[in-house]
Amino acid sequence: MTAGQLRLTVNGTAVELADVPAPERLLDTLRWRMKLKGTKEGCRTGDCGACTVLVDGRTCLSCLTLAHEVDGTSVTTIEVGPEDALVGRVRAAFEAAGALQCGYCTPGFVMAIAGLLRERGTGAPREELLEGLGGNLCRCTGYTAIVRAVDALRTETP
């Protein structure tokens, strides 16, 4: 394997990338190299959560992660298809609760919630789940509808 080469799985598809510079952030690899623009760029300093993706099922701020750090992993972004049932359920809960307005924070929230539920389960204490979302900022909704979506996900049987 040559320098700058990367092998990873993105949304279930094996991907090989060449000539990826060492300082390149996963966010930029996804957005500009792979043209997966669903993952959003907000602050690039890890404060807003808009760039949240899943790496091997765990939430990850792609703006603070180097692409080479995720070599060999499986990355899930908002573009993932219906084969990811958990992301599908979060999407459906967002739609039903009206948990989005401008939609810029939405991909990050969906992935953060999916990651939390995968890690802690829908039976996790409500406070714990809500605290786990404190790093995702939303300026439109006042979070109330997002919390309604989380509550619906907690009560529904998986």
Binding site: R31, W32, K35, L36, K37, G38, T39, K40, E41, G42, C43, R44, T45, D47, C48, A50, T77, I78, E79, R91, F94, E95, A96, G98, L100, Q101, C102, G103, Y104, C105, T106, P107, V110, L130, E131, L133, G134, G135, N136, L137, C138, R139, C140, T141, G142, Y143, T144, A145, I146, V147
Partner: protein
Amino acid sequence: MTAAVRPDAGLKLAGAAVFGTDLDVPGMLWAAFVPAPVAHGRIRSLDLRAARALPGVTVIGPDDLAGLVGPGERDSERTLFAEGEIVYRNQPLAVVAAPSLSEARAAVAAVKVEVDPLPIVSDLEQVFPEWPGSDADASPLIAAHVRARHGNVDVEFRKADRVVSETYRTASVHQVALEPHACVAEIRGDIWFVRTTTQSPFGVREDASSLLGWPESSIVVEGTWVGGGFGGKGACFLEPYALLLARATGRPVRLALTYSEEFRLGRTTLPAVVRMETAVTAGQIRARRVRLLLDVGTSLPGRDFATGYSIGFLLGPYRTEAFEVEGYAVRTHKPPFGPHRAPFAPQCAFVVESHLDHVARELNLDPEEFRARHHWREGDTTPLGQKVGPFGLASAFERARSTAREWRAEAPPGHGVGIGCGFWSTSTGAGGEVRLRLGPQRLVVLQGEREIGSGSVLAGLTAVAARTSGLPPERISIEYGNTAEAPFDSGVYGSRTLGALGRAIEEAVTALRRTLAQRLGARGQAELSIERDEIYAEAGERRAALVVLLTPEEDAAGGILAEGRHFAPPRTIDEKRVLSGSFYPYTDFTGAAHVAEVSVDPATGAVRVERYAAFQDAGTVVDRGSAQAQVEGGVAMGLGTALTEEAIWSDEGRLVNDGLLDYRIPTLDEIPPIAVEFIEGFAGAGPFGAKGLGEPPIVPVPATVAIATRAACGAHVTELPLSAERVARALKLL
């Protein structure tokens, strides 16, 4: 009407909505600004040679404009680059484009600029430690001076039982739309084409034209999905620079701000100082004196709308026999003042509500009773002499008082419950137009605004078109067209979209239904309905499928066409009361009363909002889902203004907290339960009597939190935000 699923939910949840930051064109160059290194100074030299020598780099500085701009008259006051004198830190000195962002940044770093620093005006009270004197108008620091007066103010103050005077200070707050400004420009033949994240494609076209000297007909602006606006994306900003670079390089050019640039260059609400004096006799407000010093940064003289508009919010919504107001817009070395959701009205409501609460306490009157007694009601005259139209404030306040009574009965020790009021008016802007096409299957609305998130375009206009046509919402399509395709509209701002474009849709649908009635040989308007998947029209005794009522031309065009437009209803103030400057009438009167229960940490002064209720005058609710979402989101944003948000400018004119870690907006775990109740029946100027709801819900929030905080711990805080430090100081803990 029931809440429906947002029309844009599926696209946004799939990550498929293309925002301004997502624009990506093959062969595109990346651009960056060369920022001014000081807030005020004279440019001794700007050496762009080293930057230009870098491979693939193009630089445009002030001296390059002559070869790029058009033959038209250009705005002489508003320049694209600092020319000679720098007036705010990070002001663009030049702009570069390169094959990658890192190469663009390297080119920026290669620019050599020599500056002779000049003294900086960073703070209002540094300029005017005392109130501006009679010679202030001549000062270049005064961008606007507005004055109005009515009644025997001096007499009322002289014979008053009691005069209460206070000074309030409010902080600079930023919009914090999560998507930074971004655009991609291309030259397509003779057309200067720019795609951008904007609240006003036509506004961008107009400004780009006057900045570039090219006619509007040669500029096409296409809006993208907008990742939040809140006023911050209402004006032309990056687009002319990207267009010039596209022209100079012959390539598409992407210009986007980093988030710290978003803070440092953003046009937003700046600090203010307000002095309030109230004369009370026999429990009645007899006269008021209001004085405002508003920091407008480097706003241009005479172009400041904020001061005169703000004064109205400092006077209302309370009956006042006699008044005197004086406001100064003060220029400092910061970026120009810009709109932030209900510009400066939450700050005004904080001052008015806190002050009148304080006045009542000083007079041993019930503060809520005192405010209720003076609230404007329909038929009253505002201090500036406008007749108050249908206004739901008194009803909202009554509901708020009943909730506050319940909460007080339940509140544990250390908690406080307070009510704050606010008012706002729907803006009409410079008009709005739509084009409709009614085909055999669908009603299509073509218009020129992108959905910025509030739902006003996609959910609101769909609901209006459905209700006026009688067709179900799933038969309505709201289509967007760029400035070359769509009819004119002035923008998604001022809570105006539903009112302006909604009324335009009403007019166009009425025209369609009249035409169909004529074709059916009847008078009046045809009724539309769906049968066997087809649109039918019925009038008089006749009924026919739409498809058989179309002319061959209409059939070829996909349906019958109609246009509608809305212009502002005439509204006036009594100009005799205006002594200088511009004051503005209201299109309609939107009231709100909010209730908060807060707890205050007795050791630190930290305020926590435990629960919240909003009673919102809405005229008529058109789309309940998006209406409720506007109130919830507005309250949350207002909690930031109330408690944590404060852009701090140093003495050197530097924005100290230019990131989301240090500029704190509310997070998910800080938002209390928010109950929303609409007060309907007080008609506004919009369709079916609707009032715009984008801005009104934020207005009462800081006031409500401040009054609840005083109720909880006795702290009378006269500055925003109510940070733990300020509350602790008021409690003498510090």
